[in-house]
Amino acid sequence: MHQTFDAALGINLLHVNQEGADHNRAHFDRWGITCLNLMSSPGAGKTALLERSLPTLRQSFTIAIIEGDMTTELDADRLRQHDVPVIAINTGRACHLDSKMVAGGLHRLEHDYNPADFDLVLVENVGNLVCPAEFEVGEHAKVALLSVTEGEDKPLKYPVMFQAADCLLITKLDLVPYLDVDVDRIMANVRQMNARATIICVSAKTGEGIEEWHNWVRSQHQSTRTAQICHSAELQ
C-alpha cells in the first residue's frame, strides 16, 4: 500500500503573476512612469478614447502605449497614426494580458527607446470584463470603461472588475438620447461595490467629459510621481 502525505502550501494561485506585476511596477517607478491599465468589454471604446485623448495628452506627457489584442494589430495601427510608440502584444488564445506579457513589452520599449524619457504608459487590455480584473500587470491605477449601450446591470454582473476600478468612464454618452438607458442607474450600481472610484461620463465623439478625464490622468500622474520621488528619497 502506498503511504499518502500532505503538504500545506497556502500559496496564492496568482502568486507568479503578482510577483511579475510588482517587478514591472518597480521598473515604472525607477523610470518615473505612471502606468494606467485600461479595461472594458470588447467595443466599449478604449481605442476611440485613446484616439481622442492622445493629441491633447501628448502636449503635456511623453506617452507609450501597450496594446493587448488576441490576434490582430488593427487597434495598434489606429494609435500609431498619433506618433506615439505602440507596442502590440498578441495574447493568442489568452483573454487578458498578464504581467509576463507586459514585461516583454517593457523590454521592447527599453530596447528601442530610453524608458526614462516617458511619463505615461497606457495599457489597453484585451476586451473582457472578467479575467483582466484578476491579472495585475504592474499598473498604478485601473481604469474601467463601460459604454451606455451595454446596459445598466453590467456592474452587478461583473462586480470584480468594477470593484477594482480606480476610475470608471461611462462612454458613448452621445448615444444616450437614442437609448432607453438610465446613466444614474449605472452610477448607482457601481457605487454599490465601489465608493472610491472617480466616475466620469465621456463621449469620444463629441468630446464631452474628455477634459475631466484628462484632469484625472494629470492628477494621477502627479500623485504617482510624488510617491515615486518620496520613495527614492527614502532609499537614499
Binding site: 496564492n12 494561485l13 452587478l156
Partner: protein, 126 residues
C-alpha cells in the same frame, strides 16, 4: 488561471527531491473572484493529461462573499448579481472579509517508490 495553478504546483513538485505522485490538489476559491470552479475543474483535467499531474484530483472549496459594514459595525452577505451595498444602511460594499480567496491550500501525494521507505523518513522530509 488553470495555467497559473499548474505552474505553481509544478514549482512545488520540482522542489521536491523525490518527485512524488500527486493525488489531490486542494484549493480555496472565493465566490467574489473571476474563477468558476466547474470551468477550472474541466480545464485542469484537460490540461494535466500526460503530465506529472495526470490523474490528480482537484478539490475546490468555495468561500462565500462576506462584507463588513463599518457604518453598522456588522458583517453581511451581499447577494452576487443583485445587491452589494449594505442591506441595512445602503453603504457601498467596502471591506470584503471573505470571497476574494484564490489559494492552493495543500497537496496530497504518495510515495513513488517501494513501501520499504519508512514514514519517519518522509516525515523528516516534510
Amino acid at each position: 488561471m488553470t495555467k497559473a495553478l499548474i505552474l505553481t504546483v509544478q514549482d512545488w513538485w520540482e522542489s521536491q527531491v523525490e518527485r512524488p505522485n500527486i493525488s489531490e490538489v486542494h484549493l480555496t476559491v472565493g465566490k467574489f473572484t473571476c474563477v468558476e470552479p466547474a470551468g477550472l475543474q474541466f480545464a485542469f483535467d484537460a490540461q494535466t493529461q500526460h503530465t506529472f499531474l495526470a490523474g490528480a484530483q482537484l478539490v475546490i472549496q468555495e468561500t462565500p462573499l462576506i462584507a463588513f459594514c463599518h457604518q453598522c459595525q456588522q458583517e453581511y452577505r451581499p447577494e452576487i448579481g443583485i445587491q452589494y451595498a449594505c442591506p441595512t444602511c445602503q453603504s457601498p460594499m467596502d471591506d470584503i472579509r471573505s470571497g476574494r480567496e484564490l489559494k492552493i491550500d495543500r497537496i496530497e501525494y504518495s510515495d513513488t517508490h517501494s513501501e520499504t521507505h519508512s514514514k519517519i523518513d518522509h516525515a523528516s522530509n516534510l
